[in-house]
Structures are given as C-alpha cells and as structure tokens.
Amino acid sequence: MAVLTNAERIKRWARFMRENNESIPVSKDQLRAVYDAVDDFVETIQTPYNQAIPQPARGLLSSRQKARILMDVIEERFVRLP
C-alpha cells in the first residue's frame, strides 16, 4: 500500500490534535512533520514487518489483519493506560 496522501495525513494530524489529551510541547507544523515522517517510516518497514511474521500466518493473513495485529501490540505496549 502506498504512503498516505497529503489530505489523508492532514486528516489524521487534525484528528490527533482534536483527540489528544496530553500536553503538546511542539507546534502544529512540527507535529505535522511527525506524521509525514511516521508515514514514510511505515513505508520502509512493510517488508521487514512481514518477514517477522512466521509462516503459515505470513502467507495466509491479509494485510489488514497483519496491520491490526501490529496496532494491537503497539496499543497495549505504549498507549493503553494501566
């Protein structure tokens, strides 16, 4: 899947600012740059992430399922409050 379009990045960036409830010590532009960088980073890890998934799941799960599992692990490790 290709990187997000500019409009999609803007949408996500705007939503983050709207929903965030933690202190933000950076400017809007700096936050937007994070979204650009993270989207570009995700593009670079698609292949190694897929390689990290053991067979037969690697060959049988859909891209969406693999993405949801990654999101789930990240959320449990870094986002969900104890």
Binding site: I10, W13, A14, M17, R18, N20, N21, E22, S23, I24, P25, V26, S27, K28, D29, Q30, L31
Partner: protein
Amino acid sequence: MASGNTLCVFTATAGVPPSSNYATLDTRNSQPVLEFDAATDESIVFEGILPSNYSGGGITCVLQWAGDTATTGDVMWTTEFERRATDMDSDSFATVVAGAAASCNGTSGIPTYTSIAHTDGAQIDSLAVGEGFRFRVTRDANHASDTMAGDAVLIAVLLKET
C-alpha cells in the same frame, strides 16, 4: 473616564454557535469553555446591546483563552461586529479585525489575555448606543502564524471602551 470602561462581558456559555464550523462547548475542570480547532477555522457568536456608557472611543475586545493541551505556539484570533440594523435572515458582519499572533502560556490551562482593538465607526459596523449587535470570534487556524497545536479554549470575552 470613558476609556477602559467595561461595556459587555461574555462567558463561554453565552456563545451562540453559527450554522457550521463552530467552536464547541466543553468543560475543563467543570468550567465551561469553547474549543476552537487547530486545523479548521471555527467561530462563535455573542449577542448584546451596546450600553449607554459607550462614548464613541472604539471597542477593545479582550479574549481570555488558553491552550487545551499545548504549551507552545501562537493563535491567530479575529473578531468582527454586526450591528442589528439589517434583515436578521442574512449575516452582515463588518470587516474582520485580526489580532496579532498570541502566544499560549507555557503551562497548559493558564489563561492568556489577547486584545483586539476596533475603532469607532466602520470597524464596529457603525454600532451606536442602545443598538443590538452580534460579535463573532474566530480562530484563523489555517493562518501561517497560527502555530499552536491542539484546541484553543476560549473562557470569556470582555468588550471595553478603547
């Protein structure tokens, strides 16, 4: 005597949302605030009557606001008046007056006071004593100088004679 006189005070709960792109009413520590988005221009309208102690010196609008979550960055506020002398079914606000870039406090939740001065006459839509008016506050979120991430929360507005 006239300069500095308080003309009107509006708190967040007095805000009337426009039909679209309106600041949303919320609470912060049980205190009503109006939240202005960081990515889309949003507005709120207040309604009043120009009191008899106005002496024609112009009106300074003092916005009491804070960063919702931000501890750095600037907000671009604009204000405009509409004299209630035309058909209520159409908006007829006078030309917008833009404030300078206003920096949020380094601690989220501590208010900043930002003043925007309107000269008498056209900038207050030629409003006269005893006349009804609407007063619109907008965050110009897509302005290049509006750099504060997250919502700007408007707490209250003071209109005083300049």
